[in-house]
């Protein structure tokens, strides 16, 4: 576990604030969705906040990320506007995708978010494309690919990791090992040592450093990602970081959760926000009152985003024919 004193207090507080943004956004979204206020499906990031936040805190606006169906956390961590996100979830015109695509396809090309993706594993080849482009244009940008342990079994992961390693692409592969893919638990479909050392083994297989870290410790994630981003910017190639974590809700909101109750309870005790709050309190980086103030302020930000979204008009049906071709 990283020592909180090894990181600047301002950075720790920023990490905390961004995690709260995600948590409050997602819990608010959960309430809205369960009340039947939105069409479509959502896949919530609750419980995995430390990964998106710890990684993206090392990125600049012009760095790229590819995201997944469980993408709200990544997109918020990269700096997306909560109002435009919520408007997209409400399928309104002021949403990121003009209200036509919803949760599954939120993208913001102006801050390098190359889209949340509905085909599991498809972000990896797109990420190495961004990496290839960076090398060809000779800039110092990097690209992060977020994906799950489920996606790491898709051929696209292996193809992408192999090419990234072969050509030393500035890509950081961030594997969110939450031990389940919809209705398939990872223990059913991985050899057990391969699963417990997913980062080290699969990274080594493609010639890149691979790490297995506590994905619920935002400082561990931050520091590991910092090294990986530095390596990529210096032209030293890709890294694979496997972050052990757990999603608190179902695959999609309202889903049946097949996981063992005892396993869930163990993991819920390791909530990444509870963890960082305790670490900050112990190190006297923050007080209880300040924590409450953070929560209140951020909930207000989310409430404002909801209000913005609800005021936004629905897209017109005929607008569905726009942007098929440029």
């Amino acid at each position: 576990m990283a020592d909180i004193k090894s990181i600047d207090k301002e950075i720790v507080l920023k990490l905390y604030e961004t995690m709260l943004k995600i948590r409050h956004f997602e819990e608010t979204e959960s309430r809205i969705y369960r009340a039947g206020e939105q069409e479509g499906f959502v896949h919530l990031y609750i419980g995995q906040e430390a990964i998106a936040v710890g990684v993206c805190a090392n990125l600049n606006k012009d760095d790229f990320i590819t995201s997944t169906h469980r993408g709200h956390g990544h997109v918020i961590a990269k700096g997306a506007d909560l109002g435009k996100m919520m408007a997209e979830l409400y399928l309104r015109q002021d949403g990121y995708c003009l209200g036509r695509s919803g949760s599954l396809h939120i993208a913001d090309l102006s801050i390098g978010v190359l889209g949340a993706n509905g085909i599991v594993g498809d972000g990896n080849p797109i990420a190495i494309g961004a990496g290839y482009s960076i090398k060809l244009r000779k800039t110092k940008q990097v690209c992060v690919s977020f994906f799950g342990d489920g996606a790491s079994n898709q051929g696209t992961f292996h193809e992408s990791a192999n090419m990234a390693g072969a050509w030393s692409l500035p890509v950081i592969f961030v594997l969110e090992k939450n031990l389940i893919g919809c209705g398939v638990e990872s223990k059913e479909v991985f050899q057990s040592d391969a699963l417990s050392e997913l980062g080290a083994r699969r990274g080594a297989a493609y010639g890149m450093p691979g790490f297995d870290i506590d994905g619920n410790d935002v400082m561990d994630v931050y520091l590991t990602a910092k090294e990986a981003v530095k390596r990529a910017r210096e032209g030293k190639g890709p890294t694979l970081i496997s972050c052990a974590t757990y999603r608190k809700h179902g695959h999609w909101e309202g889903d049946t959760d097949i996981r063992d109750e005892a396993e869930k309870n163990e993991w819920f005790k390791k909530d990444p926000i509870d963890k960082i709050e305790k670490q900050m309190l112990d190190a006297k980086v923050i007080t209880e009152d300040e924590i409450k103030a953070y929560h209140d302020r951020i909930q207000k930000m989310v409430d404002d985003a909801v209000e913005f979204a609800k005021k936004s008009p629905h897209p017109k049906p005929e607008d569905s024919l726009l942007y098929v071709y440029k």
């Binding site: 995708c97 695509s101 290839y132 942007y323």
Partner: protein, 319 residues
């Protein structure tokens, strides 16, 4: 030569745009599966003529990612029979990126692939799968039949901000034809009247264009005047040229190398039957491969794939 025309289009465009690159299997020192890329690696270096591992999904995704982050990719998939391997990145990603994300960025990528039979390639290297990609909004599909069409269309494809599937019939690679010295392009979505006629409209694609022209020449000696239309692009499709021709001749025969059922011939026939019904004097006839995978020995391959005799027989049915 057909392959040289494609090479020239790529070389000329890559000279103009230093962020345009080619990626695919065998495109480097080997010079390309069908010797299309030739010496391009010497001209542009390894970063821009990139030999890829056998990872078609990865290659197309790489092309896509690069094409939305300041570069532009030409992805060469050796055989169109391999397009099913990367169809996901083509259909679910490239075709939909611009639309899904509300117009934020388009995908100016070209996917080039060698298509078709008549070379003894066997079942997995001889197919015409173009119809798979004609039903996906967001894609464009080009099917040149001559060196002139290939160069002009490929230049348009490279400069098109949308993803284009560019299909090159492998039997046509050594075929010669006039190509201007000066710069030119052919718009995607413009058909070409390859031979004017007045008795029957014969719509043909890719290598079938050449067979159609042979049959037309033969029938001219019997005073049967065949107009040969080459669509040159399947998406967007030039309906106007097709319908104007049927208006003139009153008869339509369509020849496509793929098996008739489910091939693009059905689309042409439906358009004519719907929008050109009043012009028709006879039913529309479609010529295509028989309903079987494409076997290896030429006697069997020629039996399965459409022949000049098949085309002639169809024309005789309508006149």
């Amino acid at each position: 030569m057909f392959r040289e025309a494609i090479y020239e289009a790529m070389v000329e465009e890559m000279k103009k745009d230093s962020n345009l690159f080619l990626i695919g299997e065998d495109v480097g020192k080997y010079g390309g599966e069908f010797r299309v890329s030739g010496n391009m690696i010497e001209l542009f270096g390894v970063d821009r003529v990139r030999n890829a591992p056998i990872s078609e999904q990865g290659q197309v995704g790489l092309g896509l990612g690069a094409s939305v982050t300041g570069c532009k990719a030409i992805v060469e998939t050796c055989f169109c029979d391999f397009l099913p391997v990367c169809a996901d990145q083509i259909v679910n990603q490239a075709a939909k990126f611009y639309y899904m994300f509300g117009g934020q960025a388009s995908v100016p990528m070209v996917i080039r692939s060698a298509i078709g039979g008549f070379i003894g390639g066997s079942e997995q290297h001889s197919q015409c799968l173009e119809s798979w990609f004609t039903n996906v909004p967001g894609l464009k599909v080009c099917i040149p039949s001559t060196p002139y069409d290939a160069k002009g269309l490929l230049k348009s494809a490279i400069n098109d901000p949308n993803p284009v599937i560019f299909l090159e019939h492998k039997y046509l690679y050594p075929v010669k034809g006039p190509v201007p010295e000066e710069e030119y392009t052919i718009p995607i979505g413009a058909a070409d009247i390859k031979r004017e006629g007045k008795d029957v409209t014969l719509i043909a694609t890719m290598y079938m264009v050449w067979k159609a022209l042979e049959v037309a020449e033969k029938l001219a000696k019997e005073d049967i005047s065949v107009e040969v239309i080459d669509p040159r692009s399947l998406v967007p499709l030039d309906k106007e040229t097709i319908l104007n021709s049927v208006k003139k001749t009153g008869r339509a025969v369509i020849v496509n190398e793929a098996p008739v059922q489910g091939s693009t011939s059905g689309e042409f026939a439906a358009i004519i039957a719907d929008e050109g019904f009043e012009y028709l004097e006879t039913p529309i006839k479609r010529v295509g491969a028989k309903w079987a995978p494409i076997p290896n020995p030429s006697a069997l391959e020629n039996y399965v794939l459409p022949s000049n005799a098949d085309i002639e027989a169809a024309i005789r049915q309508v006149i």
